[in-house]
Amino acid sequence: MQIDLTVNGKRASLDAEPRLLLVHALRDVIGLTGTHVGCDTSSCGACTVLLDGVSVKSCTVFAVQASGHEVTTIEGIGTADELHPMQEAFWSSHGLQCGYCTTGMIVSAVDLLKRNPDPSDEQIRAGLEGNLCRCTGYENIVKSVRVAAKAMREHAPLHSVRDLMPIHPPAEEPPPSGEGIIIPALEKALT
């Protein structure tokens, strides 16, 4: 069956069985693996994406249902060069440990702030009711959302991954930006 989606602003067309779940379309067909499969019973929220701008659990939506609609995954929330304030806040406030729930948590939190730009801690906790985390005890997740909300209200400047992670120790010739340090050697070895 022909399925036409807009994913992170780009058209994506696929021919798939109607039973293909949106999360599998995103991960296995389109190749966006930032959206995770956690519980597969619509409990944990690891698979959360925005569908027409609102958070949904993509393990409980068939891709065909999203045909003609807009999907935003974690890859569309921000980029390494311009992190979304929520991504930066999860980084700076240590809002994650293993990282498995993080992408869904960030997408849910982005939706939460759209509805309520200045939530109390109680409202943050209630807004993240659909996302489970096993590592953090939620304390720093709540803090991250609070920090991001403040940054967004104050229109704080966006940062890149490199701003946040200085190369250590500083090399005389830093590797080319945006590429892994192993790439030049790999290219040499493969040619």
Binding site: T41, S43, H94, C135, G137, I141, P169, P170, A189
Partner: protein
């Protein structure tokens, strides 16, 4: 060979050098190694401390139990842990937060239930409860720093501090709340029905 400016180089020849990553990659790929030299670049050292380290701490939990339902609400949670010198206080706190949640979850929620035929009844997160953000309290943390002498950094472990402290702190808080009903012990997890039944069994009717 010598290590200069973040690179491995040939002694006395400034023109010949490569980054550690490049050297590591060549060693790993193993294409241009001299005959008889196996690929890979690793080194192993062992440090044997003269004794164990003993991190310690105290966890305090305040709960309210609804006598009509047995439902438990967290009022306050305070943990003071000592893991010696804190190399990264943010990570240390994160470890304690997560540990508290896991421990209180064991005390309150988590239970593997089988039926009489050995069929698992709590096989998905629809039945097996782990807490979401609204079901855990805010944790107040503090620490003392008693550096250990058995390693040069003065560090002690912290990964399990939260789980060790929180389970008994939560369970004891609930038992303390039930003390007026003459209840002294209930097996974990402290599900509301067990608390309700215990309160009613002792008094006939909860106040």
């Amino acid at each position: 060979m010598e290590y200069r400016n973040g690179k491995i180089g040939v002694k006395g020849d400034p023109s010949k050098s490569m980054t550690t990553a490049e050297a590591g990659f060549m060693a790993f790929m193993g294409d241009n190694l001299p005959p008889g030299l196996e690929p890979g670049m690793d080194a192993t050292r062992r440090f044997e401390p003269p004794n164990f380290v003993f991190p310690f701490g105290t966890h305090v939990c305040v709960v309210e139990v609804d006598a009509k339902t047995g439902q438990v609400e967290f009022v306050k949670y305070l943990a003071v842990d000592d893991c010696g010198r804190l190399l990264n206080p943010m990570i240390v706190e994160g470890q304690v937060h997560g540990g508290i949640a896991q421990g209180l979850s064991q005390a309150m929620f988590e239970e593997v239930v089988y039926d009489g035929d050995g069929q698992l009844l709590t096989g998905t997160l629809m039945d097996y409860a782990i807490p979401h953000a609204e079901q855990v309290p805010h944790y107040d943390l503090d620490h003392t720093v008693t550096a250990t002498t058995v390693n040069p950094l003065g560090i002690k472990g912290v990964g399990e501090a939260g789980t060790i402290g929180s389970t008994p702190a939560v369970a004891n808080a609930v038992m303390d709340a039930l003390a007026p009903f003459g209840v002294v012990h209930i097996d974990m997890p402290l599900k509301p029905e067990k608390l309700w039944t215990a309160m009613h069994a002792k008094n006939g009717r909860a106040r």
